[in-house]
Symmetry: C2
Subunit: 202 residues, 2 copies
């Protein structure tokens, strides 16, 4: 069975792919609106992990709508969820896709589909949407990350990640300058995967 | 890293163990109050799956309290959750245990700890409580079961399972007869694992 894992180059999506690997043929899929070299970053990390990788490129209107939402809300949650849902629906409508995996953890809040949204997507597109880390807390994920990944951490403005936030920050910066980015996005530590360890037990 | 997987001999706990196997040293743990030959059923299935197995035997007072709850409520939910929480706390208090796994799926309702209960157990006992199927719907679990397990299905009164319900049914039957069991427990199809398939991708 093939599974398409939504991939940001971060530790959660990387670990999700690793945990699914013994049971599925994994491909990694990254969203970009081509504002920044997201594709390059994501495909390099995918290669380090040893998985095939492809891009998904929604219409630019999706990013524009998300940008409008974020400017109206003053916080990124709804905009990120909007892009996320759009990406999943685009992926689900691909007739070759039957399993979609999302790297959210137990304690995550964004991006997050609720159960009725998940069931609606599964029913409309005849796909399975699975979250292999959904039943793992942050500390448990960290233990598994230590076993399987080599990561680099840095503040969100210094690490180019292949996530939705990166291009949202860019479009806000282009229109309103750096100050507005810092107003909307809380500073946080981002992880970027730079290598894979052999599992102790595998 | 060692992980103790709560094991009923059913497909969800068996599949959970299989999905954790590439990443942990798995042991299966089954609860019984020694009213019925639960140990025999569970250890046979564990052997078929190829995992080490042990029993956990809470005080009989836990079953008696659960029995009181069920007779008062008229339905099994709270009683089953009560036993479940008790078993997890007993397991978590074992100083050799650091990871506990529970086979609940996305769509399950019982037994189910809520997030504050989970965090409380993790904090008080310094353990990780993980649910590898928590992010998988029923249909996705069934696809994985087809790949990895051979199962036998039957009505709940005909299949001796190593779950909490089995001994609760027994204690109710001993005190009130078969009619009372049928009044409290809805008839449902139980699965019992009888074999393991080699994975297609492994």
């Amino acid at each position: 069975m093939q599974i398409s894992v939504l991939f940001s180059g971060g530790k959660d999506s990387s670990l999700s792919a690793i945990m699914l690997e013994p049971f599925f043929e994994v491909e990694l899929v990254t969203c970009s609106f081509s504002l920044l070299p997201i594709e390059e970053v994501a495909s390099e990390t995918a290669e380090v992990l040893g998985f095939p990788h492809r891009m998904i490129k929604p219409e630019i209107s999706v990013l524009e709508k998300a940008y409008e939402m974020i400017m109206q809300d003053g916080f990124p949650r709804n905009a990120i969820n909007f892009i996320h849902k759009n990406v999943i629906e685009k992926l689900a409508s691909d007739s070759d896709v039957t399993f979609i995996a999302d790297g959210i953890r137990r304690d995550d809040r964004v991006p997050m589909l609720d159960i009725p949204e998940v069931r609606s997507i599964e029913d409309r597109f005849s796909v399975h949407y699975v979250c292999p880390l959904r039943g793992f807390g942050r500390a448990a994920v960290n233990e598994l990350v230590k076993d399987h990944l080599i990561i680099e951490e840095g503040l969100s403005e210094n690490v180019l990640k292949a996530d939705y936030e990166t291009e949202l920050r860019e479009i806000i910066g282009q229109n309103h300058g750096q100050g507005k980015i810092e107003e909307i996005f809380p500073r946080h530590v981002q992880s970027h995967v730079i290598g894979r360890r052999k599992s102790r037990t595998a």
